[in-house]
């Protein structure tokens, strides 16, 4: 029986170790307000503002646009890289990075696709013509 208690004990310690190590690699989801305060790498969920300028700067390879977070705060986002796929049609985007002065420096942009291309009834409606 002693053996099993020992094994269980070791496992628990190991699990705690894993959970503690999350802190290093985990990136919290937050809003722009909080991101400014934290100053470290975070993730912000929101949407791209279609009415404001959006551009890809060919010289610096930076993709820049304005984004509104869930609380409505707007921020200028500069991303090191190209405009991601689905960017213009994604209803929601997630940017990963940190705030520097008045800019959110994003190292990664994740776009959420509206349907993930699963079959939906709208597609069925215009996918085939109705035959009688």
């Amino acid at each position: 029986m002693k053996k099993y208690i020992l094994i269980a004990f070791a496992t628990i310690i190991f699990l705690i170790l894993i959970l503690v190590s999350f802190n290093k690699s985990a990136i919290v989801y937050t809003d722009f307000q909080n991101a400014k305060k934290l100053g470290k790498r975070v993730q912000v969920v929101g949407s791209w503002i279609k009415e404001m300028p959006i551009r890809y700067d060919i010289n610096s390879s930076k993709f820049e646009f304005y984004m509104k977070d869930k609380k409505g705060e707007v921020m200028f986002v500069s991303h090191n890289g190209a405009q991601p796929n689905n960017f213009t049609i994604a209803p929601e985007i997630v940017v990963q990075g940190f705030v520097k002065d008045t800019t959110f420096v994003a190292s990664q942009i994740i776009t959420k696709c509206p349907s993930k291309y699963e079959g939906e009834v709208e597609h069925l409606k215009y996918g085939g013509e109705i035959v009688r």
Partner: protein, 761 residues
Amino acid sequence: MEAKLLGKIILYLSALSWLQSFLLLLFGSKKNEISDNLNKYGLWAFYSGILTIVLASIYLLFNILSYNFTLSYVWSYSSRKLPFLLLISSFYAGQEGSFLLWALFLSLVGFFLYLYLKKYSFEFLPLSFLSLVVFFITIILIFKSPFADIWETFPDGNIPKDFVPQDGRGLNPVLENYWIAIHPPILFLGYSLLTVPFVLLLSSFVKKDFYGFQKASSFWALLAAGVLGLGIMLGGFWAYETLGWGGYWGWDPVENSSLVPWIFVTALVHTLILQRVNGGFIRTNYILSWLSFVGVLYATYLTRSGVLSDTSVHSFVDPGKVVNALLLTGLGIFILFPIVIFFFATKSIPKENRRIGSFSRESFTIFGTIVLILAALVIIVGTSLPIIQDVIGAPKVALEPSFYNQWMLPIAILILILNALSLYFKWKDAQLNFITKQIILNFSLSLAFAIIFFLFINKSIPFAILVFSIVFAITINLKKSVEKILSGNLKLGAFLSHLGIALLFLGSLLSGGLEETKTINLIEGKQASAFGYDFILFKKEQIELDKPDREKYKFHIKVNSSGVSTVVKPIVYWSEFNNFEQPFFEPDIKTFVTKDLYFSPKSLAFTDLFSPITLKKGQKVPAPWSSNDSIHFVSYDMSSMHRNPNQNFFNFGLVINYFIDGKEFVDTVYSLLNLNMNSFNPVWSIVPTKDFSIGFIKFSPEENLENSTVELAFGQEVFIADVSIKPFILLVWIGVIFTVAGFIIAVFKYRHQINNTNFTT
């Protein structure tokens, strides 16, 4: 209507058969005689279960091949345009079909297990438990049926009852690749094979016979580890070669959840050997086989329930409450039921005091197994994080791949050292003295490599230790293999697998740790550079012109550096599948012996050369590039909308008159308007006599068209791509091939391990 009904009947019959087979064989196992009525009828039910699943599969395939788009599954994933191979693959492109494929493979594996058990005059209790597993899947299939018709699936879609779609929605173009015909079936076969050691060892505990079943398990565990390993590797290769994810492994939840069962079954392969040598480890084997099977179920739950749909590239969407509840119930049953059996049987396990020498192959194998289990634990906790956070109500955090990489580094070092040392020691006991003398050469060689790596390649102590352990493992495994071959013994499975693992780690350290990536922008005719290579985009070639559902271009890019002159041809295409909204990309790879040059398109952009101009219909303004030239917006062209009034997307055109150098040019500039997505995508067209394009980027509607304004932009197309150098990535593939080959060789070794006499041990 008929298709749906017939399909449902087959599935109901199948579920009934599997339930009968489970119950009859369970109660029949007490007598365990084939002549016993319970067993006789149980086997009949078992056959009928297999037959109905095979029938259901053939029937679904028939519906796919005959384009029966009244079935929503067929409509959702296939279309008339698909070539034959992909058409067949659409069988398992969605949730329903992949559950059916799983059931089909389980049935076939069950049939072979039956033959195997019969040949060695085993009991049929494992077939009973296998039947329970398939029964559980058939129940899911009844609720999430591939035979549901479109009226049923889309009840609020106002679809008339006799509506027959002319064509299906088709396969996601990302999946339109021969890999889809290979990778998923092998993976599912692996999952199905994994079930066998579990049902065998579960039976052994129920029957309290702790030796016979274990002997039979080795063969199946090895086969499962080999096939599942192959499946995982092919998935990695697919991701690397055509999906352009940049790598072969990204610690994605779905990748992880296929790796965890593999780690457990690999550990099981080792501890089964321990039991043969030592007689102990009965509980360990039981637990490991249970964990590997539960791992598969948990993987299914994670990927099918939609819990990860936000965080994973593979995940399916939420299948609905019923299926979710079913998945959870199944998971619960297969977690709890074996635990109960364990506590019932554990007292009957013979108590013998078995000594394990401190420096024996046993002790090192035990260490290795513990390390493997720890690796699995890290991956499970990391992957389950979104669920853990949900349960404890903690704020959501995303986990970076660095989490896994950090943990795997020390784990890899330990695995490699144990991998090498375990082969050096003899079973039972060995003398330390003798061994230190033998490995001193390997040790110094590894140390030398580690120092060289540290001084000249990468100043990282953890990496240097990893290099040490890799070289240590490679040299020892090579030496041992040569010794074996020279002595005429060709049972090299273990050495080959161990060598493969070392090569795999070497490949992933070099290709991942020393990888360099740079984003480049290519404008036709202009040069861009990265890592000493010069890139010139010189040609855009449209391919697959015979297929109207896509617009596919091969970009020809000349690559020059000292000594290398080649052309990479990545692909950019638009597909009807997403209404030509956003392009899809395929990378191109140039493989050299020492490295891969990975060229992965990221996006197409336009640079603004001049500021955009805003115009009303009929207005004529000076051209932005020269005040001598002018642009005249003549009229709107909405003929595309008038042609297809029912469609939600159409080409919105502007007729433009250019006056350039005294000459007049007429052109229509289009933008693809999608009312569903509310998006506006300009179709860029070259301005006459110039090297840049014009794009219709914005429409600001007013009450009438006369007062509405349009915005025109001028720019050049930029092809943005990531260029990576991946040193020695070839070693990754060689390593995995060796590992898998080792398992397969060992399978043949174990094929005849058991015979009739062994069973009664």
